[in-house]
Subunit: 658 residues, 2 copies
């Protein structure tokens, strides 16, 4: 590993996004999702499953401090899932990020008040998980495998770091440091401690973020322990299950402990297995650990897993997790489109992993995947009004199948208000509201731009304060302009990602030629930059027809349509029913146009394809008829995938018959 | 309905099969399956799940007659599934049939002895179900929905009728008549009786067979009650569940009571729904009832359901039951090949239904389906050595998916020795050993031949005793010869089924022309037949490429290969791995040949197709490459579907990419 290639994101507070594509999403998150989630956490959304989340916290406070009374009956018990606390943490994180780019005193007050509640629920020794505070602290740390204590801890730690970075206030951070210390007292390599680790990962990457602030070796070591103890023999989860007579749901399954990525040491894991969200959260933590520790062996595992995901197990939308069974990865090239799981949170986790891989080494494939997930498989999880959400993001949907075919039982054909297990909406909120930190990364001598998002950033490189402005109508339009504001001049490497989808591009500097070399998919310019320097990058951005590796049997004979990073789909609203009868044929008259009034403004694609003619319905099978006689001409009309299911219930497909 | 078209099968004892294709299957059943099943019923098969079936009967005897001791510990309890008795009944039925065409004193002695055990287990009031005799008679008739009492009764009734018809011995028949009387006392329209019916159908058709022997109106009425009470409001199963606090597994499912075909009256059922085996057993009983009662309304329901199955929900192999969930039908045109259920018993049940529909009116579509299931989806359930069995008969298999993709968890890639729920092997045994009764059917003035199976039959038509001899090497060869042995001459209609797969045929009588008309797909000759008259029917029997209705989305862009009634498949043993990369293209050099030493002798098919070239595996998606450059030439080699999985574990597919 070449640590000179390490970079870190520009802190969120130093990036101001103003982007034709993303700003509306961020505004939806700020004005719809965050307030709506607050109502949901407080069980005030009519027609939605109650969350019980705030009620649990208030109850935990009342049980801990009898003098405090929020009016919650003391015998009401814990409500919701065992990991309900994490939803609150995700909301805090998203709200904190939004305060960075949109100060809002009312929201900040709300945040402060809710942090007070959390801190009041904290136990004297730092412990802070309402499930056990309500149900009995004697049972805590007895089921790390399934009861999500360390998962909730991880999410709160992420929230605490976000709050501190957004507002400078330490109250939640200090509480979480005390909680981390409490965990460190109970879990780890020392005598009498549990040799455990999280059943659902996230605490690993959160602890690395904490360490970046505290520089306390204890936090680093706990994170590293969680990663390296995982899957060591004897298996902690196996011992814990035996000792505490816990249930082991996957006992008779082929996934076993790899459901938790805990069946073998992480350095021996080279393919993505098990629960997809857990997996990518772990891999993100592993990448952090590899970078921070300069750990080649761990880096190798990260690389192998990365390659396995993006070259064997990733949907064209950047979605991952093929199997509803265990919400999990499946096996190489097994990528069903209709029975897919493709949880929104898993795509978000892949973005986390991609960013961390890019931080180790700026290679465009990381940015490509980051971009692919963001523009497709992540935002598909949210309605265009920000009020309803997908958990599962299918690439092919037949409404009838969702009702009558048990294989698609988990697939919904319209986004839902809120879920009993509501992990995805707040996860969407936190990634979209922190999008600024994904645009660039930098180190002492270099700046890299990974995403083409209109923004105004400030970064200190080689002692100079540099302003970087991106202007673009990407992904609808083909031009990206990057200009620098420098007090005088500054010498540094600047790398602009050239997307994997792009075959030809043109790069100019202030209207003239510019010398660059292509390094790992970045156009890298090393020069003395002057104030006002303006790069213009223009992509060839035609409609492109894409096929899957022939090993993907579910896509045999099929083609997907893309333009730039955007994956397109056919929807019933534009093409009628029975989309599976449509064929691209040899597409003619391929056109694209921006439609301002459609789906909040999208570029649509159309071309002349064909449709299989109906048969006499009395025949289920018949001798093969020849050639084109069985087709009729048909114009196919496509919309960007992320925008599907925003009109009426109907069929959708990404992959189209050739 | 035109009752002049009603026919009945020639009784099994009057048909002697000698057929190059079927005789080996019948011998395998006789020499392997029946003896093996006897060992299994007695828990003497090492490495197989114990059946506990005979043990249950012996225990039931000991509990009923303390003076009889088979050495079974009295406290050992009932073993196996609640419907375990039915396996014994199926064995008896198959063994009885085999005695008809292969007298075997040792087997007959065994049968007599086991019938003694059954009769000893019978209660004073006629009741005869070991599950309740062992577990407490006070609980009998409290869960008709799920506890299979009436299912076991039905199977024993089928066995009793078979025994009587095979051996002339009445002991089991009389026992079952007493059991029928017992059931009639508890269930039916009279005061104080349960308004119930079988949770798993079969008793209906069995009672019609009993009625044909006894002509006792009570038996007819009970059968009709079971059919017509089914699904009447208030729903009996709903009431029963409430009253006895039974579990209702399908409560939250979309199938609800239609899992049992009991959510609405059968006359209001027009599509095939729910558990496939139950369904076709019910439909068989409905067809019996419609014919016997001349019941137009019921016939309409049968017709509608028939059409729904064969035109919307049947695999090309004649398999039915698309969904592992509930082992059930799914919805129109939803025919997945890899996640399919396609239980062997369901295909057998479809053959029962087809024969009964043909008995009402000889239309070739019934014989076509009968033939399709027999030559494909039924016998695929058995190894060529008669020692291992499929429960699920997939049309596409990837061994890796069976292990790692939960959607294919129920699909095995090799036949299994015996199952905990062992319904399929004995069901195979009983249909194959009674095959003789499927060849022809007749009435007072007509004889129809439905299947082209080498055989020697005797039938009395219009007062004359007629010998009908079929000589053929069908399905491998294209010629069928039918000759008549008549004492002098006899005038009757003779109908020969012209299969739906056949476009051209040639029919001659003793070498010369013969006048016939085509009626409902039968070539019908009405004449004064003379002794020695010999018809020769020669089919054009080329290799044919077949496509599915475009509404079958799982078969878009695919083609199946058939010759005559036989469906073919690609197997890894002949074509290597990754069958999904193979394409038929525009098939060239299409050849077929009989291979005596392959798979006990089969006609194989080969042709020049093509294979997708491998990519650089570093690419999961890439811009579409043009046309033929991505293919290489490849000879495709096919074997008959039924014979797959008789060499080594590997991939298989029926549907091939175009």
């Amino acid at each position: 590993m070449d640590s000179s290639k390490y970079t870190t994101p520009i802190p969120l507070k130093d990036v101001k996004i103003g982007d034709t594509f993303w700003s509306p999403f961020m505004e939806r998150v700020r004005t719809q999702v965050i307030p709506y989630q607050w109502e949901a956490l407080n069980d005030r959304v009519s027609g939605a499953e109650p969350s019980y989340c705030m009620r649990n916290f208030k109850l935990a406070v009342e049980l801990t401090h009898p003098e405090l009374d929020y009016g919650v009956p003391k015998d009401i018990g814990f409500g919701g899932m065992v990991f309900q606390d994490s939803d609150f943490a995700k909301w805090i994180e998203a709200a904190a990020y939004s305060l960075v780019w949109h100060p809002d005193p009312a929201l900040e007050k709300n945040l402060d008040d809710s942090i007070d509640i959390i801190c009041n629920a904290q136990q004297a020794d730092g412990y802070l998980d309402t499930y056990y505070i309500v149900n009995g602290l004697d049972k805590r740390f007895t089921n790390l495998k399934d009861n999500h204590e360390l998962y909730c801890f991880g999410h709160f730690l992420e929230a605490a770091v976000a709050c501190f970075e957004a507002t400078g206030k330490r109250k939640l951070l200090d509480a979480l440091i005390r909680y981390a210390d409490c965990i460190d007292k109970h879990i780890g390599p020392g005598e009498g401690k549990l040799r455990g680790y999280p059943g659902h990962e996230i605490a690993e990457m959160a602890l690395f973020r904490l360490y970046a602030i505290t520089r306390d070796e204890k936090h680093l070591k706990l994170a590293q322990y969680f990663i390296d103890q995982r899957g060591q023999k004897p298996l902690f989860f196996e011992e814990e299950t035996k000792k505490n007579q816990n249930n082991f749901y996957w006992k008779d399954s082929f996934v076993q402990y790899q459901y938790y990525q805990a069946g073998k040491p992480v350095r021996e894991q080279h393919i993505a297995e098990g629960h997809a969200v857990r997996a990518v959260y772990l891999y993100s933590g592993m990448a952090d650990s590899a970078r921070i520790g300069g750990d080649e062996e761990l880096m190798k595992a990260c690389n192998d897993i990365w390659e396995n995901i993006v070259k064997r197990q990733m949907y064209i939308t950047g979605a991952i997790g093929q199997s509803a069974y265990g919400e999990s990865f499946s096996y190489d090239y097994n990528l069903p489109n209709d029975t897919v799981y493709a949880e929104t949170c898993a795509a978000i986790g892949l973005a986390f992993f991609a960013r961390r891989m890019a931080s180790m080494s700026p290679r465009s494939m990381y940015g490509d995947v980051l971009e692919k997930t963001l523009y497709n498989g992540i935002i598909s999880g949210m309605d265009l009004d920000g009020k309803a959400f997908f958990y599962v993001n299918p690439l092919e949907v037949l409404p009838e199948a969702c009702l009558k075919d048990r294989r698609m039982h988990h697939v919904k054909n319209q986004r839902q208000k809120w879920f009993a297990c509501a992990c995805c909406p707040p996860n969407l909120a936190r990634i979209i509201s922190s999008l600024g930190s994904y645009v660039h990364s930098f180190n002492q001598g270099a700046l890299y731009t990974h995403l083409f998002i209109g923004s105004d950033s400030t970064v200190k490189i080689a002692g100079s304060k540099i302003g970087v402005k991106i202007e673009t109508n990407y992904p609808w339009e083909d031009t990206v302009r990057v200009s620098f504001k420098i007090d005088g001049s500054a010498k540094f490497r600047y790398g602009l990602r050239i997307p994997g989808w792009c075959n030809h591009f043109n790069l100019t500097l202030s209207g003239g030629n510019v010398e660059y070399k292509t390094e790992d998919g970045y156009a890298v310019i090393e020069r003395e930059w002057k104030n006002g320097d303006k790069l213009e990058l223009r992509f060839d951005m035609p409609v492109s027809f894409v096929e899957a590796n022939p090993k993907v049997r579910e896509n045999t004979g099929k083609v997907a349509v893309m333009r730039g990073p955007m994956v397109y789909c056919l929807e019933e609203a534009d093409n009628g029913k029975e989309l599976f009868k449509l064929h691209a044929g040899k597409p003619e008259n391929v056109l694209f146009k921006f439609e301002k009034n459609l789906l909040e403004g999208v570029v649509t694609i159309s071309f002349k394809g064909k449709k299989e003619k109906d048969w006499n319905d009395d025949q289920l099978y018949r001798p093969l008829e020849a050639g084109d006689a069985v087709y009729e001409e048909k114009e196919l009309n496509l919309i960007p995938y992320y925008a599907w299911a925003n009109r009426r219930i109907g069929e959708m497909t990404v992959w189209i018959n050739k």
